[in-house]
């Protein structure tokens, strides 16, 4: 636009909200004398229909090039007034709001100084800004409509299914040989006690059969570049050395394999072979040869499995395959682990065989577990008569371990105690707890039932010491309610071990530039209002990776993340806020200081030795422009010139 700016100023009374403390008519009279202001008026409610029409008419009749609406906070009606400006033929960025309500009339009563004078300064500053604003259009661009889901626990499974059902293609990347995550290890699930595998495995099958979903198990995300809508991702498919199409699950390979190592699925309560399938309902339904355990993938050293395989499914020559894919959205559902034994000196965890964690107890309770669902302790297979459950092991202990509450342990400990009592009706179950947190639907009733019907003894207090004495695990503690010391000779101790994020959270956060909170869980864009979104556009969270939660919450969050991904993927194009940084190449010395200042990797020094901005990555914070030693960078519509003039106007009389 050439020629002198013609700015219109519209002052809202907001009933008495502004007019009650600010002399609105004198503002309109004074501002008309300010440079480049060619029109001013005041009105009772600018946001009302007649108010909006006044603005529209003035833009048209007075040939205005910019508009200042002095009214409430821009968070209220900026969009409304920008639409009005647009409808009268201006660009939306040629309308700015001067906030004279929240930041002026409401906070300076009769005794509070001079609100009218302050309002005038705010308006003058805004005039200085708007007259230098340039018209901008959102940047529109194409995007991929595929979704990547990282992690195939229940949260990732739910998210993948929902996105696929909406018609989008999904690739689910799971690090382990099978999907299912921790839920596959559980026996029965609180509060309804339905069998975990019975509700999980049909979903795993559904996922595997969904034509929109490609499952990449035993695979990992290796490299991510790009941005919302267009993430370029490299995925490594690790070799299983078994052709899943040929494998018929006969198990002959496993029978002959001479190597036995710790069985992760049974939490180390049993061993497995180097060639193995984690559990019989695993998906993909095939064997995997664990190279770390295998004698050497070399027929000269050992080829028992390959020789035994009638289907010729074992192939020692397989190698990693790298796949490059583009995705519009990414859902991180990397789940959890239990706080490691090595970090816990107390309670004899890792020292005594019969001090076990909650997941080990799940395996003991499970029909598919090492004891086929009978509770027998690991050391000697004896049925334990006295079982002590210790809650908050490693949780709520900021001095020594983790500060957070693991949220699900109160419930699963109650479940454990109940299932134990059903298994061993004459046995005694003791639960040491700090507080009982049973906030879910029907959860409190469940706990009450366990305490009363199942006669589980709940002791409020911490365990002070645990030691093996004469073949028993002696537990010393304090019952805060009776005030008495307690001493229990236990046959088995089950620790409700703290929930920590899996290594997947830190790996994924590095690849995707995500923030982690103090306990290492993913940090949301807003803890209340944007709980499934990350601050990185197009990346969403589901499941325990974002914070401890149970299955219903993990599934809800999976669906929530899916809804966000579907919303993004279903847009024909993506638009990006046009307020980004520009480079004035003549001034740029190519020093590259800006590159390090940018939180989004949106800047680089190009082959011509000048800074270049990626407009899609730039979020418009302007931090680089303030750090540029030669003033070569400027944030559109908040330039050095604009700010300098705003300061000047603000401090003038």
């Amino acid at each position: 636009m050439t020629g002198k700016p013609r700015i219109g100023v519209f002052i809202c009374h907001c009933g008495e909200n502004i007019a009650g403390t600010v002399d609105v008519s004198s503002l309109a009279e004074e501002i008309i004398d300010y440079e480049d202001v060619t029109f001013s008026t005041d009105y009772e409610y600018m946001c009302s229909d007649p108010g909006q029409n006044k603005i529209k008419e003035a833009i048209e009749d007075e040939d205005l090039t910019g508009v200042v609406v002095a009214a409430c906070s821009p968070s209220m009606h900026e969009d409304t007034f920008r639409k009005v400006a647009e409808s009268a033929g201006l660009n939306r960025y040629q309308c700015e709001i001067a906030n004279i309500r929240e930041q002026c009339s409401w906070v300076h009563g009769e005794d509070g100084g001079s609100p009218t004078k302050k309002a005038l300064k705010i308006i003058k500053g805004t005039v200085e800004k708007v007259k230098r604003n340039i018209p901008m259009e959102p940047v529109e661009r194409e995007h991929s409509d595929k979704c990547l889901v990282i992690g195939g626990g229940i949260a990732g499974i739910q998210a993948a299914l929902d996105v696929a059902e909406a018609g989008n293609e999904v690739i689910l990347v799971e690090k382990e040989p099978t999907i299912g995550g921790h839920m596959a290890q559980l026996s029965e699930t609180f509060p309804t006690l339905d069998c975990s595998q019975c509700i999980l495995t049909p979903k795993m099958v559904e996922l595997n059969q969904n034509l929109n979903i490609e499952l990449m198990a035993y695979s990992e995300v290796r490299n991510v570049s790009g941005y919302v809508g267009n993430y370029e991702v490299q995925i490594e498919r690790k070799p299983t050395y078994v052709d899943p199409d040929a494998c018929n699950l006969c198990g002959d390979c496993e029978d002959v394999c001479p190597v036995e190592v710790r069985d992760e699925f049974n939490q180390g309560l049993t061993t497995r072979k180097a060639i193995n399938i984690p559990f019989s309902q695993a998906i993909p339904s095939s064997y995997t040869l664990d190279t770390e355990a295998c004698l050497g993938l070399n027929p000269l050293r050992c080829s028992e499995c390959a020789d035994a395989c009638d289907a010729d499914a074992v192939d020692f020559d397989e190698s990693s395959e790298f796949v490059e894919e583009e995705f519009g959205a990414i859902i991180a559902a990397t789940g959890y682990n239990l706080y490691p034994k090595e970090e816990m000196g107390e309670y004899g965890y890792g020292k005594y065989d019969d001090v076990i964690d909650g997941l080990q107890f799940e395996r003991l309770l499970s029909a598919t577990g090492p004891t086929e669902g009978e509770v027998r302790r690991p050391s000697d297979g004896k049925v334990p008569e006295n079982v002590v459950f210790i809650q908050c092991s490693g949780s709520r202990d900021p001095e020594n371990h983790n500060s957070c509450c693991s949220k699900i342990c109160c419930m699963y400990t109650a479940k454990h105690a109940k299932l134990y009592k059903e298994n061993v009706p004459d046995g005694n179950a003791y639960v040491f707890y700090i507080d009982i947190r049973a906030g879910g639907k029907d959860y409190e009733e469940f706990i009450q039932d366990v305490r009363e019907e199942d006669r589980v003894l709940y002791l409020k207090g911490k365990v002070s010491k645990l030691k093996e004495i004469d073949g028993k695990l002696r537990v010393w503690g304090l019952d805060e309610i009776s005030g008495e010391r307690v001493e229990i000779d236990a046959d088995l101790v089950v620790l409700a071990q703290s929930i920590v994020p899996s290594e997947g959270a830190s790996e994924t956060s590095q690849e995707l530039n995500l923030n982690l909170g103090p306990n290492g869980f993913y940090k949301e864009a807003h803890p209340k209002l944007r709980p499934v979104e990350s601050l990185t556009g197009g990346v969403f969270f589901a499941g325990v990776g974002q914070g401890p939660k149970d299955i219903p919450d993990s599934v809800s969050q999976g669906s929530g993340a899916a809804a966000k991904a579907i919303d993004l993927l279903s847009k024909p194009t993506l638009s990006h806020d046009p307020q980004v940084v520009e480079v004035e190449e003549d001034l740029c010395s190519g020093c590259g200081i800006c590159v390090g200042q940018c939180p989004y990797d949106a800047l680089e020094v190009n082959s011509r030795e000048v800074a270049e901005v990626n407009e899609i990555l730039c979020e418009g914070c302007g931090t680089c422009s303030s750090g540029c030693p030669t003033n070569a960078l400027s944030l559109k519509n908040l330039t050095d010139e604009q700010l300098t003039e705003m300061i000047h106007a603000t401090l003038g009389d």
């Binding site: 930041q103 005794d111 509070g112 609100p115 302050k118 914070c621 908040l638 300098t644 705003m646």
Partner: protein, 140 residues
Amino acid sequence: MDFEPKLVGFLCKWCSSAGADLAGVSRKNYPSNLIPITVNCSGRIDVSYVVRAFHDGADGVLISGCHPGDCHYNSGNYKAWRRVALLKHVLEEFGVNPDRVKLKWISATEGEKFAQTIKGFTSEIKELGPGPYNDARERE
């Protein structure tokens, strides 16, 4: 006549300007000396603006952003933090009391803190008297 300081406040739009809005919504009264200028992020504040403001007659300058770790753009406030620390040294070298510049983290939920900050800052600057380029100083 009492000395009424002229103050400018740079507020980031995501936290501190929203905090100032909340002070308004909750009708927290505070002095009207400070004129707010909303910017995208505290990281957008070039220290030269502060110098500029003093030049234009300001007696004090407030810079307010999101709490550390909460910047909408991840890290702009950390940049602001370092820049302001450096600026304070430079101001001191030039004989300007560094207390005339205040950096404060105010979140969108801290309306009361915003009001208290403005009250406090206004009275602190009243104590310090006119700024380095305030005409009133020459008249004294």
